[in-house]
Subunit: 454 residues, 2 copies
Amino acid sequence: VRRGFLQAGNLDQERLIDCIEKGDFEACKRELAATEAIDIARVLQDLPAEQAAVAFRLLPKDLAVQVFDRLDSVQQQQLLEGLTNEGIRVLLEAMPPDERVDLFDEVPAVVARRLLKLLSPEQRKITDSILGYREGTAGRQMTPAFVDLHEEMTVAQALERTRRLAVDRETIYTAYVIDNERHLQGTVSLKDLVLAQPNARVADIMKTTPKSVFTNTDQEEVVRFLRDYDLLAAPVVDRENRLVGIITWDDAAEIAEKEATEDIYRLGAVSAPEEGYFGARVVDVVRRRLVWLFLLIMVNTVTGYIIAGQSALLGEMLILAAFIPLLIDTAGNIGAQTATVVIRGLATAEISLPQMLTIVLREARVGLLAGTLLGAGVLGWAFLMSRKWAVAMIVSVTLIAVATVATVVGATLPFLFRRMKIDPALLSAPLLTTVMDIFGVALYFLVARLVLRI
Amino acid sequence: VRRGFLQAGNLDQERLIDCIEKGDFEACKRELAATEAIDIARVLQDLPAEQAAVAFRLLPKDLAVQVFDRLDSVQQQQLLEGLTNEGIRVLLEAMPPDERVDLFDEVPAVVARRLLKLLSPEQRKITDSILGYREGTAGRQMTPAFVDLHEEMTVAQALERTRRLAVDRETIYTAYVIDNERHLQGTVSLKDLVLAQPNARVADIMKTTPKSVFTNTDQEEVVRFLRDYDLLAAPVVDRENRLVGIITWDDAAEIAEKEATEDIYRLGAVSAPEEGYFGARVVDVVRRRLVWLFLLIMVNTVTGYIIAGQSALLGEMLILAAFIPLLIDTAGNIGAQTATVVIRGLATAEISLPQMLTIVLREARVGLLAGTLLGAGVLGWAFLMSRKWAVAMIVSVTLIAVATVATVVGATLPFLFRRMKIDPALLSAPLLTTVMDIFGVALYFLVARLVLRI
């Protein structure tokens, strides 16, 4: 039996489906109010669109916002189609500004414009200002719904203000102390407020010189910032150090997961999809992958021409062809291993640009050692298959050479990509394999000609 | 100019290095107290071991614990060697139990035993009990340092207890309501306590039916649990639903990053290292990668024998050899693309086991369509290179066939791995490439014989 939290979730879901199917709305409302947003979202995903819309309308406003946030963009759009303009307006107004911007980013531009018109002037202004920042930056991910305090307030006043603002703030666990020009002066945790004497001043208990990110800081850096400084939320300031928003840890966790998926997709030579896996049509999937496949085939042309150019040698010694896959695969694999480690190291900031030479040299040693061991291991097998010591020698020596070249190439390219400001994760295993093919066959025939003295 | 949070950090670091080098300990202490733990850790990493130990001893206890947690395991061990037994004891006692267990996991067993002996009986008991849970489970990651309340307490009493416990609890933002047998009854956020009337009862404001994870829940599931239910910490209960610990979001974020690195390494056919990149010796790196490389070469033997078996055909039409890399690479690449998407989908729980058939069929359609387009695209190029329409036909038809087979294999294998309880991420691009080679050359020669009627 599978133990874990999913068990409880499933029970709630069954009861909920049950009452929706029976059409017992009062029972539904009770069930919905007692069910977690994520579990409701999962039920809605499995329901036919109409039933999902019915169930969604039964939700109290706050819960509706939470459930909506947990649906994927395709389902969000389906749901919106099932709501009246007034229903949409109420939902949009109640959504946290950052989630609303996420939605606007994902729906078609024409829908986004229509939705924007439904907003109150105040909320539209907030949304417009966030949409003004470039995608992938802190400004685009932040929410202006934070608790702001002034340093001359007493702790009692600060707690009173926190209580008053609590309802619609993203977090109240960290409050931000600003001056009259909204410059960030310090931070106070709710913990510190609760522990302090009521008549103490905010200035006395606040943490000064608070760390912050800029509106144009890359969203990946924000994730590292929160982790490194162990904060619940990152304050976002503009060029003049004025506090304009915060990014909470749960939004950062979402960014981190998206970025990891993007990296993994790129390493697999798949363009990252805007929607989830099921959101994409087959033709779109093909289009996204085909670009890479054609590119790789173009690179492969070089390999093909090298082999075609060696037909005299191959004609003399056909058995050489049997070792081509082994050599080019091993070259590609070793290159991919090295690149994987270096790319991930660069992504998590474990290694940095200035360390390039150290790492390339280190990897070259790894390649030389691995190649020698592999070459020795393959020698006997190559002899058994070809019945010629010369061929076995050629294969072994080529293995040593390609392993060393592969580690050097695999370690160097990610650094070059980073230096050229291209995401190193675009250096996929397929791309490396294909590039290493060229080195593989070229070295193979070179070694063969040297050994055979042709 | 690079903007962002690193700027501020660098300034602090320079001042700190400056005073350590001058040996001005009073100035150092002032600098250290004003610097964030992560920035101190970065400075210590760059200092010679002795200077690092000197600087570390100047830290106030709480900050020392935070800095220590941010060092990698190699540096942690170096630092411990520079401390007296008493210094180590004070540090270990002050560390949160979950971080202490992390340390014990990473140092050699003999060192761990020595460190364990330095602990007070109380802390040793806590550490022993956490170490009793299997690695990779919630029990191993949790900390018992949470705030526990009883439902008959008033809000004022609850706040008083929270204040008293605050110093050494991992979080006070969520308190856990338990009965006399320590069964988890509900949760109360500090926000709710602050907003409630002082004479209200905890039972009235607590969230009942709290979601929890079990001590043996997989740590990856804990990350999803926190994300799905949007919690600051996950309560961990034993089989009898007794609350034994919590896992806070920052620890979950660390788990998520480690798991993503592990997945990316596996996809690149690299075994995940216990230490960071710089912690490993070259021979260990080689050993970890060689296992995979030898395995892949063994699989490659099959491909080699298939080609060797076709020497009569190849002898007649040598140009066929020139297309082998293109065909086997494309097969491997398409297989890797499909596998990447399916593996990541399984890892993030976007897709699940019962959807296997749907996804394999969907991917087969992607493969057929992509293969047909690639086959059409390559036709002219293959003719130009071989000057034979028959060869061009063979290459095109083989491409269509291998693309379809590759997507089916690439989509099926991750599901089979998951069903056999093997991590699908072990299905690396190199492994898939090598397996697809076999299909690639086999289909190639089959099509060639059919077209050439040999």
